[in-house]
Symmetry: C2
Subunit: 360 residues, 2 copies
C-alpha cells in the first residue's frame, strides 16, 4: 500500500537544486527564458534535464504571489448556452493555451447585477486581464470594475474608450444580406433589429438602414421591429409586430440567427412559408443553422478566430505592461446562402398582394 507518503507533493525548485548541487536561484534562472543566458550553457542544460527528469512543475501559487501575475484571464459571457458563444470560448481557450494562460469563465445572463458579481469575483481572484463578451454599449460598471487591468471586448463593443475590441464586420455582413435579397428581386424588406443597447444590435440596424438606402430599397417609414433580446421568442414577437402593420414585405433581415428562427416559426403560424412566401436572413451562422428547415441563409462570422484574437490581444497587453493603447480588430464576414431565401414571389401572398401593388 503506497499510503506511506501522505502528501507526496511535487518536487520544488529546492529539490532540483539539491539534486544538481546548485542554489535554487540558479535553477530558477536556468528555467526562465529571459535569464538563462546569464548562466553557463552547460549548467543550464544539466539543470533543465534534471528538472524534466524529476517532473518539476513550477508552483503557480508561489509564482503568482511573487510576480503578481496569475496567468489567468477572466472571460465574461452573457450566456454560455447561446450557440454563438461556445466557439468564441474555444477560441479564447486556444489563444490562451498558446501563451500558457488559462481562462475562468462566468455567465452573466445579461443581468447587470450578476455581471457585477462576476467581475468582482474575477478581480478577487486576481485575473491578469479580462475578455468581455457581455459588454453593453454604455457599460459604466464595466469601466469601473475593469480599471487597472487590460480588457478586451469580443463580438460586442463598449462605447467607452480604453478597451480593446475584436468585432465582426457587421456593416459588411448586413450589406451582403441586403444585396443578396435585392439581387433576388426583393424590394420590400423588413428588419428585425437586435437590442440597441448592444453594439451588435445597434450597428447591424444602422447598417441595414444605410444599405437599404444605398440600394434604393429603403421603405418610408422603415419597416423595423426591435427585439429586446437575441432570443427566438423575441423573433416571433417582432414578426407578429411586422405583420400587424399590414404593410407589404417579402423579406426579413434579422439581426441574428435566433431571431430568424423565431421569425420563421411565427411566419409558419401565419401560414406564410419560408422561403416561398418570405425570405429570411440571419446573422452568425450558428451551429445547426444548416440543419434547420429551411436551412438558414445567414452571415458567417469567425467566432473561433475572434476568440483567438481576443486572447492574443489581452495577453499582449499584459506582457507589454499596458504600455500600449487599446487595439481594435474587425474580422471579415461572409454570406452563406441557403434555403431561407429565394427569389421574391411575383404573385405575393394574399395579404401582401394588394398592398405591394400599390407600391409597385
Amino acid at each position: 500500500m503506497p499510503k506511506k507518503r501522505p502528501q507526496r507533493s511535487r518536487p520544488t525548485l529546492k529539490d532540483v537544486a539539491r539534486k544538481v548541487g546548485v542554489h535554487v536561484s540558479t535553477v530558477s534562472r536556468a528555467l526562465a527564458a529571459q535569464t538563462n543566458n546569464r548562466l553557463a550553457p552547460r549548467l543550464v542544460e544539466k539543470i533543465r534535464r534534471t528538472a524534466l527528469r524529476s517532473g518539476y512543475r513550477p508552483n503557480p501559487a508561489a509564482r503568482a504571489l511573487r510576480t503578481r501575475r496569475s496567468r489567468t484571464i477572466g472571460v465574461v459571457i452573457p450566456d454560455i448556452a447561446d450557440p454563438a458563444f461556445p466557439p468564441i470560448i474555444r477560441g479564447i481557450e486556444e489563444g490562451l493555451a498558446r501563451n500558457d494562460y488559462v481562462a475562468i469563465v462566468a455567465s452573466t445572463d445579461g443581468n447587470p447585477r450578476r455581471q457585477q458579481r462576476v467581475l468582482e469575483t474575477m478581480r478577487a481572484r486576481g485575473v491578469d486581464g479580462l475578455i468581455v463578451a457581455s459588454a453593453l454599449r454604455s457599460d459604466a460598471m464595466l469601466s469601473k470594475l475593469a480599471s487597472g487591468i487590460p480588457v478586451t471586448t469580443v463580438i460586442r463593443k463598449a462605447d467607452a474608450a480604453g478597451f480593446s475590441s475584436v468585432l465582426h464586420d457587421e456593416d459588411d455582413g448586413i450589406r451582403l444580406a441586403v444585396t443578396h435579397l435585392v439581387s433576388l428581386g426583393h424590394r420590400f424588406i423588413a428588419t428585425i433589429a437586435g437590442p440597441q443597447t448592444l453594439s451588435t444590435g445597434h450597428n447591424r440596424h444602422a447598417a441595414f438602414n444605410r444599405h437599404a438606402k444605398l440600394l434604393g430599397v429603403s421603405l418610408t417609414p422603415p419597416l423595423a421591429a426591435f427585439a429586446r433580446a437575441f432570443y427566438e421568442a423575441e423573433g416571433e414577437r417582432c414578426t407578429e409586430e411586422l405583420l400587424v402593420t399590414g404593410r407589404p414585405f417579402t423579406a426579413i433581415v434579422c439581426a441574428n440567427d435566433r431571431l430568424a428562427i423565431g421569425a420563421i416559426a411565427a411566419l409558419r403560424r401565419h401560414s406564410l412559408r419560408c422561403p416561398e412566401d418570405m425570405s429570411v436572413t440571419g446573422f452568425n451562422d450558428m451551429p445547426l443553422a444548416d440543419r434547420l428547415s429551411p436551412s438558414l441563409t445567414t452571415v458567417r462570422v469567425e467566432h473561433f478566430r475572434a476568440g483567438v484574437e481576443a486572447a492574443e490581444i489581452v495577453v499582449d497587453m499584459i506582457e507589454r505592461e499596458g504600455s500600449e493603447e487599446p487595439r481594435q480588430l474587425v474580422l471579415p464576414v461572409e454570406l452563406v446562402v441557403r434555403g431561407s431565401t429565394r427569389r421574391a414571389p411575383r404573385r405575393n401572398t394574399d395579404r401582401n398582394a394588394e398592398l405591394s401593388s400599390k407600391f409597385a
Copy 2:
C-alpha cells in the same frame, strides 16, 4: 495625472492589522470562520468592519501557497460547442460559485492526446479537483493523471472505481422512449446506438435491447447501427445503413438528439417523412430540439442540475479531505413528446409494406 501610484495593489492583512492595531495573525483569525471563536467577539467585529471598509480581499495566490488549495476545479469537456455541454458547465459554475470555487474548463475534442495535455496543464495549475465529462468507459489515462485529487465524472462514467459520478437515468429514458413508440403502435423499431466506448452509448443501447425484449418488440437479429460519434453526420450514415438492410421498421430510437437530427435528414433524402413515415426519438432535449421541424420527441435530462451536483460532490470530497468514498448519483429523466413521433403508419411506405406484412 494619477500615475503616482504605479502598483496600487489591494490592502493586505498587514494593512488591516496596522489600522486596527493588532497583529496580522489576529486579523487572519478574525476573518476565518473556524478560528474567530477564539478571539474576543468585540475585536472580531471591529476587525471585520475595518477589513470591509478598506476593501480587503484575501490574496488567492498567497492563500493557495500556504494552504495548498487553489479553490479551483478543472472541468474537462469533450466539446463545448456541443449543445449538451453548456448547460452542464453553467450548472458547475453555479455549484462552484456557491462554495467559492471557480472552474477552469478545457475541451478535448474527444482526442485522447488533447485530453492528456489538458489534464496535465490542470494538474500543473494545481486544481483541487476535477470534473470530467469526457470520460471513456475504460480510461486508463484518466485514472493515471487524476490520481491524488478528487474526481467526479458527469454524464459519462468510467468503469474504473474511484471516481464519483453523476449520471442520467439512461435506462429509464430509453424505456420511456420505447414504451412511447410501442404505445403508438410501432412494432418494428430500429436503433442508432452511440459509441460503445462511452457509457452513454453503451448503456442506452443495452437499455434499448432490454426494453425492446421486455415489451416484446425485439427484432431478430436486432436492427441496430452504431455511430462512431454523437454527430449528425453519423446519424445520417447510420440511417443509410439501416435502410440498406431492406428490413422493415417504422421508428428509430437514437442515442442522442444530434444523431436523431442526422437521421431525420437522411430519411428526408430518401423521401421518407418524419413523422408520417418514420418516427424518431432523441435523447437529451438539447436547446433548439423544440424548434426543429419536426420538433423532436426526446428524453429530457437535467443537464444544469447534473452540473450543480457534480460541483457539490467534488467540493465536498475536497473539504472532507478524501475521507469519503466515491459517490454515485443518478438523476431522473423525463419523456417529452413532440412532433417527430406519430402513430405507426397502417399502410407502410412501399418499401416497408411488403416486409412488415410478413411480420405482422
